[in-house]
């Protein structure tokens, strides 16, 4: 098994945005890399448009939950989800937020905003905000920390998962890459 540092990430948004989908992609990527993984997810009533939250822990853990001030990174598919969950972040962490303006910069942390709604509109795929955000996070956090996976790893898993659905596969990759290049270009 590959040696890595334990890593903890929070992914949040509102019900229906596909928080679960990208959490699962990341978790499956961890398995592809031979790493132990835990997630904790929101199901039930909150999925009807309420705030939903996933915890993702890669490495040697027993508990599926992240405590406040322990997360290495946060992907927020909505600005209000960032407000609700930023207390999970530890100092020196990163966050990518789907928002028009850059949120308040906190000491030692890098919070980066991206207007994913606009990008989704541009590629004419309203349902792809989650993948745009994931691509963007990979571009930004990939450099910043020793993330457990690369964007190539994620693309492999995405392709495996959507192998039976050519159309969706194509648009999903496009969304992921749109977010990724946006992150690289800045």
């Amino acid at each position: 098994m590959q040696q890595i540092q334990n890593q903890q990430y929070v992914i949040s948004g509102v019900g229906g945005q596909g928080v679960l989908f990208i959490t699962r992609l990341l978790a499956e990527t961890a398995i592809l890399k031979g790493l132990p993984v835990f997630t904790a997810e929101t199901h039930g009533m909150a999925q009807r448009g309420g705030i939903v939250l996933s915890h993702l822990k890669v490495g040697n853990f027993y508990s599926p939950l992240i405590r406040p001030f322990q997360a290495d990174g946060l992907i927020a598919l909505k600005a209000e989800a960032f407000e609700a969950h930023k207390h999970y972040l530890k100092p020196d962490s990163w966050a990518v937020v789907n928002k028009k303006q850059v949120p308040r910069q906190t000491k030692n942390s890098s919070f980066i905003a991206i207007d994913a709604n606009h990008l989704a509109q541009k590629i004419d795929n309203f349902r792809s905000i989650n993948l745009i955000m994931l691509g963007f996070a990979m571009a930004k956090a990939g450099n910043a920390s020793n993330l457990f996976c690369t964007s190539q790893d994620l693309e492999i898993v995405l392709s495996q998962r959507l192998a039976n659905n050519k159309n969706f596969h194509h648009t999903a990759l496009k969304a992921f890459n749109t977010g990724f290049s946006e992150g690289r270009n800045e």
């Binding site: 398995i31 929101t42 009533m45 853990f61 939950l65 207390h87």
Partner: protein, 604 residues
């Protein structure tokens, strides 16, 4: 190398069932247990297993089907959420006395928090009341292992066994190692034994005595005995944990540098607590911290309360989920380690709401128009969210909309000016527990309107079929029961079916139903339109009515407040309502709701 697969706790439980030769699996959907049965069905399909899997009409029936299978000599299991166990508690209590012939598991998923439930009740207390053993997994991987442990235990003592996962096990994902599926040849063989399977009270006394003996022996059963996780730690005090609190505590002790310092015991079987373990704890330690969710079941069984720090002593919270940050404080306090409390800002979250285009929203709007001053008892499902716009006054438990409607009627009936009563219930909930209550309302001539919100599915828990769907958990064709015929069969004379999307007509129909109920007796309206999650984009396109906001909109907020479609919003900086094209599904219902007619079709 064995295959490692990312699995939801509920999928791991399902995998455990098929690996261990479960031949009959039944359930009624409920968060956080819903995915167990669909995952069993997926395994069944993929591995071509000959077994019976089904959604039952309710948990009681699900229990009885699976229990009967086990007394024919087949391994079986029933799964449900904790409040579902209330519904199945009648057969549970009795099955405990009669015992089993082959392994029988009751999987009852608890929801500390609660995240998606009416209560935080602890199913382990139900196991205690029924006098059956219960296993308490800490993770998806352990939940899978406990299926095997549970079946062995059940067969060793001829007793039903409960597995009690919680939300954090059911809805956690983990890499789980797959074991081979054992293909057992299932040969049912029901041996008649009326003294046991139909025991009269005299024999029940005997069975109860046997049950007590079984419990004594189970409290010494090695395979489920508590584990000392860190034998190297020696101290005067100890910590005892179970369920997901055990997972949090293991991680915390390591992080806090206490792993080698304080003994940590994990209880796998909270009831009956192992006798030797109880004695060891009470004899060898001065203080014992017990962390478990949600009731102090382990604690209750440790007789010397002076030594125990837990829920009964007031140290461990009795309400709410034991989040790792809460456990961190408990452990630090108990071990006299410094702990700096974290101050978390309370950010108001976005409240859940019905989906854009949800047919229930149209029904609720119509109900408020037809009986503006009515009393609105409702029920469990997506439509509980009707309380956001004041169309739901009460939510008690499955099926209670009708029983409570009757109660409101009887309470008010001698008044001169009676309020109208309009109850709402979903199609699946009507089948589950509404039918007996409706018959009762007919017998007592309760003057109320029942709106059955028939969206052709069990939406809240992930769109499982209902008895009216005509398909099963494997997508196999089944018989369908017609709701209107059922309503008429209950003795209701007034029963109409209509589509709430045709809002104007629907309001008219409801007004007539209200008139009828005032003069005559129960009136039922079946509001039929499929859940938007079950409509394909192509179907949707065919019926789409694109809308726009006209300049007549003065931002009064009426639509936002009384209709609350997530695609319509109003913020402080705007003077007009904004239509979110991303969310709007072009159902066109909102065309009828603006008092100023400012929501108009895109094409004239």
């Amino acid at each position: 190398m064995p295959e490692r697969k990312l699995m939801l706790g509920n999928e791991a439980i399902a995998r455990g069932l098929v690996e261990n030769g479960c031949a009959v699996a039944t359930s009624y959907p409920g968060t956080p247990a819903s995915e167990i049965l669909s995952a069993v069905a997926a395994e069944q399909k993929q591995n071509r297993l000959s077994m019976h899997t089904q959604w039952a009409i309710n948990e009681k029936v699900a229990f009885e089907i699976a229990y009967a299978a086990c007394i024919t000599g087949l391994r079986s299991a029933v799964s449900m959420k904790q409040v579902g166990l209330n519904v199945a508690s009648d057969p549970l209590m009795s099955a405990a006395y009669m015992g089993v012939k082959k392994g029988f598991l009751i999987i009852s998923a608890d929801d500390p928090g609660p995240h998606s439930s009416q209560t935080e009740q602890d199913s382990r207390l139900m196991a205690m009341m029924a006098k059956i053993p219960v296993l308490d997994p800490d993770s998806p991987a352990q939940a899978k292992k406990m299926i095997e442990l549970g079946y062995t235990l059940s067969e060793a003592f001829n007793i039903p066994v409960m597995i009690r996962p919680t939300t954090r096990v059911c809805h956690a994902r983990q890499d789980v190692i797959l074991e081979e599926i054992v293909f057992v040849k299932n040969l049912p063989d029901f041996e008649k034994d009326p003294l046991r399977w139909a025991a009269t009270p005299k024999f029940r006394f005997q069975l109860h005595k046997e049950l007590e003996q079984k419990l004594k022996a189970i409290a010494a059963h090695l395979a489920t005995a508590p584990l000392l996780l860190n034998p190297e730690a020696k101290a005067d005090n100890a910590i005892v944990v179970s369920g997901v609190a055990a997972a949090h505590s293991k991680e915390l002790l390591k992080e806090l540098g206490l792993w080698g310092k304080i003994p940590l015991y994990q209880v796998l079987q909270p009831y009956p607590l192992h006798t030797e373990f109880k004695n060891h704890l009470l004899n060898d330690y001065t203080n014992i911290l017990v962390i478990e969710e949600t009731t102090g079941i382990i604690e209750m069984q440790l007789a010397d309360h002076a030594k125990i720090k837990g829920k009964l002593s007031g140290m461990v919270p009795v309400v709410g989920e034991l989040l790792p940050e809460i456990i961190e404080k408990l452990i630090c306090d108990f071990c006299e380690k410094e702990y700096s409390p974290v101050d978390l800002p309370q950010v108001p979250g976005k409240r859940p709401t019905l989906c854009a285009g949800c047919p229930h929203r149209a029904s609720f709007f119509a109900i408020k128009k037809a009986a503006p001053k009515g009393i609105y008892p409702s029920d469990i499902g997506c439509y509980t969210l009707g309380l956001n716009f004041g169309a739901v006054d009460t939510v008690l438990c499955m099926g209670a909309a009708i029983g409570q409607a009757a109660g409101f009627y009887h309470a008010h009936k001698n008044e001169e000016k009676r309020p109208d009563i309009i109850a709402t219930i979903g199609d699946s909930t009507f089948f589950h527990a509404g039918v007996p209550a409706l018959i009762d309302a007919v017998v007592q001539n309760v003057q109320f309107v029942l709106v059955i919100l028939d969206n052709r599915t069990t939406a809240m828990t992930g769109n499982q079929p209902t008895p009216a769907s005509g398909v099963g958990v494997l997508d196999e064709p089944l018989h369908a029961v017609d709701i209107a015929a059922l309503v008429k069969g209950c003795g209701v004379s007034y029963c109409k079916t209509a589509d709430p999307y045709e809002l104007q007509d629907f309001i008219k129909l409801l007004k007539k139903a209200v008139q009828y109920s005032r003069a005559k007796g129960p009136a039922v309206v079946i509001a039929r339109h499929p859940c938007v999650l079950n409509i394909s984009p192509a179907e949707r396109k065919a019926f789409a009515i694109p809308v726009k906001i006209a300049k007549e909109c003065d931002g009064c907020g009426y639509c936002v407040k009384h209709f609350e479609c997530p695609a319509l919003s109003l913020n402080e900086t705007e003077t007009k309502v904004i239509l979110d094209q991303l969310l709007c599904i072009e159902c066109g219902v909102c065309l009828h709701i603006c008092p100023k007619n400012a929501i108009i079709p895109q094409k004239e």
